[in-house]
Symmetry: C2
Subunit: 325 residues, 2 copies
């Protein structure tokens, strides 16, 4: 398996990436290839365990990732993705700017034949299970046909990556009844209904968290509001509880005792456990993680990429999309 890791992606680069690459060798005996300026990286890796491919250009992320992607053909992202393109790698992992990674992927890899818009599809922990939400921010303005394709890609991803049989696909909406939601949802509904997907209709955020669907389809704006609201509310609620627990000596004593429970819940919800999100629909396996990833998050991202490669996600997407588009 040949996994390429952008050494210059995370906010603290290249430390988390260097440590994660070394850890991958320890854990799985895997040689990770790092892309980045060789002069920065060479002295800091053990060449018997980690490979380096020189990528001297630094991608400065201004407001125009598309322009940056074209202007810097030798950035660590561009070099890594070209390796995918040329069959020299099986997956590319980056903790870099999401907009930049998407633009570079579109420019260097292009889309799988027939795909209108690639989409970001993280896996959310839900009651007793997990759920793919697609799209979470790659496409802020969508057409109904895009949502149908998100459903197809998400369903294949859930089948392969989460080993779900006949995944239940739903539309994120503001009511469970047919006819609830905005115009986009109203127009995507008949397309999904007419497809070969196991489409179950609308779900609201509560049903999503109750695990009623395996794949929840949404436009990237609403999906991003969903993701960021989830993160914000969890952080806010934990903060509130902490403040109230510390407000009296008795609750503070109780707080000491319940700490392991808080830790277990924190771990369950910790985004670093997931590491990175696949950009489904581009013609190569690309995983994009948070800029503020630490070593653990990068290792998780590498783990996700390995799993996707070993289960043949890319071939499944190419095959599945060929049949259904």
């Amino acid at each position: 398996m040949r996994i390429v890791l952008d050494a210059m992606g995370s906010d603290d680069h290249p430390e988390p990436e260097l440590e994660a690459a070394a850890e991958a060798h320890r854990l799985w005996g895997e040689r990770i290839t790092l892309t980045g300026p060789a002069e920065v990286l060479a002295s800091r890796v053990d060449p018997s365990r980690v490979d380096i491919v020189d990528a001297p250009e630094i991608l400065e992320m201004d407001n125009k990732p598309a322009v940056a992607a074209k202007k810097k053909p030798n950035s660590s992202m561009a070099v890594g993705m070209r390796m995918l393109k040329h069959g020299e790698a099986d997956a590319f992992v980056t903790m870099g700017n999401t907009g930049g990674a998407m633009a570079t992927a579109l420019f260097q890899l292009g889309r799988i034949k027939g795909v209108r818009r690639p989409a970001l599809s993280p896996v959310f922990p839900v009651r007793d299970s997990s759920t793919v939400v697609i799209d979470i921010g790659a496409n802020t303005d969508c057409r109904p046909e895009y949502l149908l394709q998100f459903g197809i890609m998400g369903s294949i991803y859930a089948e392969i990556f989460l080993e779900r049989k006949n995944p239940r696909v739903a539309l994120l909406s503001t009511g469970e009844e047919e006819g609830k939601g905005n115009m986009l949802v109203g127009e995507a509904d008949p397309l999904l209904r007419a497809s070969e997907l196991n489409y179950i209709g609308n779900v609201e955020p509560r049903e999503l968290y109750d695990g009623e669907a395996d794949v929840v389809v949404t436009d990237g704006f609403s999906g991003n509001v969903f993701l960021k609201t989830s993160e914000a509310v969890a952080a806010r609620l934990v903060e509130l509880l902490r403040t109230e627990i510390e407000a009296s000596p008795i609750t503070a004593a109780g707080g000491y005792l319940v700490r392991p429970a808080f830790r277990r819940v924190g771990k369950l919800l910790d985004p670093t456990e997931y590491g990175a999100v696949p950009l489904l629909g581009v013609d190569g396996l690309v995983f994009i993680g948070h800029g503020h990833s630490n070593t653990h998050a990068v290792v998780s991202a590498l783990h996700a990429a390995r799993k996707a490669v070993s289960r043949g996600l890319m071939q499944a997407l190419r095959e599945g999309l060929k049949d259904s588009l």
Copy 2:
């Protein structure tokens, strides 16, 4: 002050409404007027404390609230709203179906002159403060001009109801930087910027919960996703913590001690503390609450309506919108 309460709104009607009306007399010496079938209500109220206006028709909520609103001119909602229209009441409060209440309000009251779309604007508890979010679901598909008007109405509401001076108005988006968000946000931004509002640009859900704005403007679909995700994540997180706390005797003992802290946080986040949400932009003061409201929630709703009347919200909206539309 003349507050009219729909006796037939809540899922458990008319019990919560009857009890809340009696409670209003105890708390504030206020005579509430209940609308609903006199034959159901008359024997159950103390006529020296609560008034009844007969409204014999029952509003069955199918999928077409607009049709129902027109076909039942003598429903408890329609009768109450006509009292507003004819100057026989200062505010109308209902726990009934939101779609039905909006349709009935538009049909019976119409809009304040110049208003394109009425909007639902609840107040969210945020760090050390509270924030108006508008719209939370009345308009699933919006044009940029609607968002500008939501900003104007929300700003007046925050000024009057929350006593904020020069309220900070923001757009809900998927990034703080200018240019982030979908097309609607991109087109609403210059309108808000050119207005006389204290517009501070985009906020993400985290900034919203950090209290960085007094009013957050959004289309009703994203707003509803925001609201329902907030509720779902809070419920899910509390459930997870409870499960993990009960998983061992030590954490369970701690759980017993921290219970008051959980209760205080629960109260802080409890929607029944807010009771009802104003439908801003219709030509009369209408508050709409949850169908599953209990007596406490209905009392809170009556309290909110009283506050809005005594502070002159309706006049402020009429004046403020006249100047700025």
